[in-house]
């Protein structure tokens, strides 16, 4: 069957427009829907009072603190490992079997679903090492999960630092480590930060890996070994058990706004960084 190419072009154009419109509409709709129902609940009091009656009333204060502590510890564990790996891969070795294995391992780790991380964290940290449901179990699990992101972005950031920066440093008599710490890392910092910030966003939104390792206690955590509930877990439990719809919407709104702001900051930073070196 022969179709007039001009007619086909016109039809395809309309269809592509339509599909794109629907896609963008659906994605926007999700955000607006949550914000529309959630924002009226969110106020200063909602953010600063403890949840009461399992979250039926009161605010989400302890879950905010739980989220911040859990994410912070995870980032503190994963960042040095990620940056160290990136430095080794880019500055201290040539492409060889070892780098291939390291890259392959990192890529595989990135593809593992969060429930597997949760399962693993539960059996190793919670039961075998007897940390129990705790911030340390949750943070270690999260750290493992975000490590590949930090490795990849740091590697790209370090690679994009122009080679002559290093040559100048060597010509001044610096050692390799001095060059890395005083020249390469400072120049690559915005790019590295982008990866770290993206990982913060991912940690905040994670549920499956956290619920089995950090538990879901609503108390304020007192040490790294106390269980803690994050905003995402709190939202999941409230929505699934139908505890309080208004509070569930409110938590979701706070969660989404936080993550969007974090991702926008990361995106801006990356944009600036790319502009600087290209």
């Amino acid at each position: 069957m022969h179709i007039n190419p001009r007619l086909e072009e016109a039809v395809v154009k309309v269809l592509l427009w339509l599909f794109t419109l629907i896609t963008v509409f659906v994605l926007f709709f999700i955000i607006f829907y949550i914000l529309k129902h959630g924002l009226p609940v969110v106020n200063y009091q909602f953010l600063t009072t403890d949840p009461m009656d399992m979250g039926k009333s009161g605010g989400i204060y302890t879950t905010i603190i739980g989220t911040i502590v859990l994410t912070l510890v995870a980032i503190l564990i994963a960042t040095p490992l990620g940056i160290g790996t990136a430095i080794y891969l880019t500055e201290y070795t040539r492409e060889n079997k070892i780098t291939k294995i390291i890259r392959f391992g990192s890529e595989c780790l990135a593809g593992i679903p969060s429930i597997i991380f949760g399962l693993f964290g539960f059996i190793l940290f919670v039961t075998k090492l007897k940390f129990g449901w705790s911030i340390i179990s949750g943070s270690l699990t999260l750290a493992f999960m975000i490590l590949p992101t930090i490795i990849r972005t740091s590697e790209e950031a370090i690679k994009s630092v122009p080679y002559n920066f290093r040559e100048v440093s060597y010509s001044l008599g610096s050692t390799q480590w001095q060059t890395v710490t005083k020249v390469v890392l400072p120049s690559a910092l915005p790019g590295i930060l982008t990866g770290v910030i993206l990982s913060v966003g991912r940690s905040i939104g994670e549920t499956a890996a956290v619920i089995f390792t950090a538990g879901s206690a609503l108390r304020l955590p007192t040490s790294l070994f106390s269980s803690s509930r994050t905003m995402a877990v709190h939202f999941y439990i409230m929505a699934r058990e139908g505890i309080s719809m208004p509070n569930a919407y409110g938590t979701a709104a706070v969660l989404i706004i936080t993550i969007l702001i974090i991702n926008i900051v990361a995106y801006r930073l990356m944009h600036k960084f790319i502009k600087k070196y290209s």
């Binding site: 190419p5 963008v24 080794y88 890529e107 593809g111 429930i115 939202f235």
Partner: protein, 285 residues
């Protein structure tokens, strides 16, 4: 050897040790999941796990076939929903829209990849599930609901990677085709899409990996009943939800069987990752 040289040496060794962290973590996770999950599979036989229809952990009956089929159905469903929309969006933004629109929309779509999966699941519960129940029948919590929500969740992955691979096709290819009198769509169909094929396939495989590994959203909207669904409106349980739903209270052989579920999931994901790596390696070559 001076002190400075010795320090440099030590630093290099320390960095190598750190660099092995990702691989070691991968190894430890693999070993743990397999060592916890495979003994019970050997004990009752692989066949009873992979092909058994009944999951009654308290009666030593650990058939995972309904969950395996459930995972596959939901994943295929999500691709049926996500791939046409994702590809159309990517093609539109690279080939047919203005630069400006692309520069605005692409980052926005990528930002949306950060929305937590529980939020998608929640949207499914409050909007999609009641809609399906009232208009199409059935319990609403269904293969269809899970497919649609997962399809939406994989959109950012598919769109973003497809756009990158379409943009990587040299402009001269398109110019050559246009110069021969082809229309824009003919050029896209016969030249650009063919040149970007491996990247697009990789984006679909990655989206598939995300869909099959998704847990929380699926638990909220798929209904979680253990049976092989006879229609898209029937509820379904996936491998991931099987683990998450019962992990909280399982012990003994029941817990080992959940790890066996993890083993199967792990193997599927690894196969998909390797496929994605192979296709993108081919693209680079």
């Amino acid at each position: 050897m001076t002190r400075l040289e010795r320090n440099e040496r030590l630093i290099k060794i320390a960095l190598l040790v750190i660099a092995c962290s990702a691989v070691s973590i991968l190894a430890v996770i693999t070993i743990f999941i397999f060592s916890e999950g495979t003994p019970i599979m050997f004990k009752y036989g692989f066949k009873s796990f992979l092909l058994g229809l009944d999951w009654y952990p308290s009666e030593q009956s650990f058939g995972l076939l309904p969950m395996i089929i459930g995972s596959l159905m939901v994943t295929c469903g999500s691709l049926i929903v996500g791939v046409p929309f994702g590809l159309a969006c990517a093609i539109f933004l690279t080939e047919f829209s203005s630069r400006r629109l692309r520069h605005i929309l692409k980052p926005i779509i990528e930002l949306l990849a950060g929305i937590p999966s529980v939020v998608y699941g929640f949207i499914g519960v409050v909007i999609l599930v009641p809609f399906i129940r009232e208009n199409l029948g059935g319990p609403g919590l269904s293969v269809l609901a899970a497919s649609i929500i997962l399809g939406i969740m994989i959109l950012p992955t598919i769109i973003s990677i497809s756009i990158d691979s379409l943009q990587a096709v040299p402009v001269s290819y398109r110019e050559g085709s246009i110069a021969l009198g082809a229309t824009k769509w003919q050029t896209t169909k016969m030249v650009t899409l063919k040149a970007a094929r491996s990247g697009i396939i990789a984006s679909i495989i990655l989206g598939m990996g995300r869909a099959i590994g998704e847990t929380m959203a699926v638990i909220m909207i798929a209904g979680n009943a253990i049976n092989i669904p006879n229609s898209v409106l029937a509820p379904v349980r996936t491998l991931t939800s099987n683990i998450a739903l019962e992990m909280g209270y399982a012990s003994g052989e029941h817990r080992e069987a959940l790890f066996a579920t993890g083993v199967i999931l792990f193997v599927i994901i690894m196969v998909l990752n390797t496929l994605a790596n192979l296709t993108s390696a081919k693209r680079k070559a």
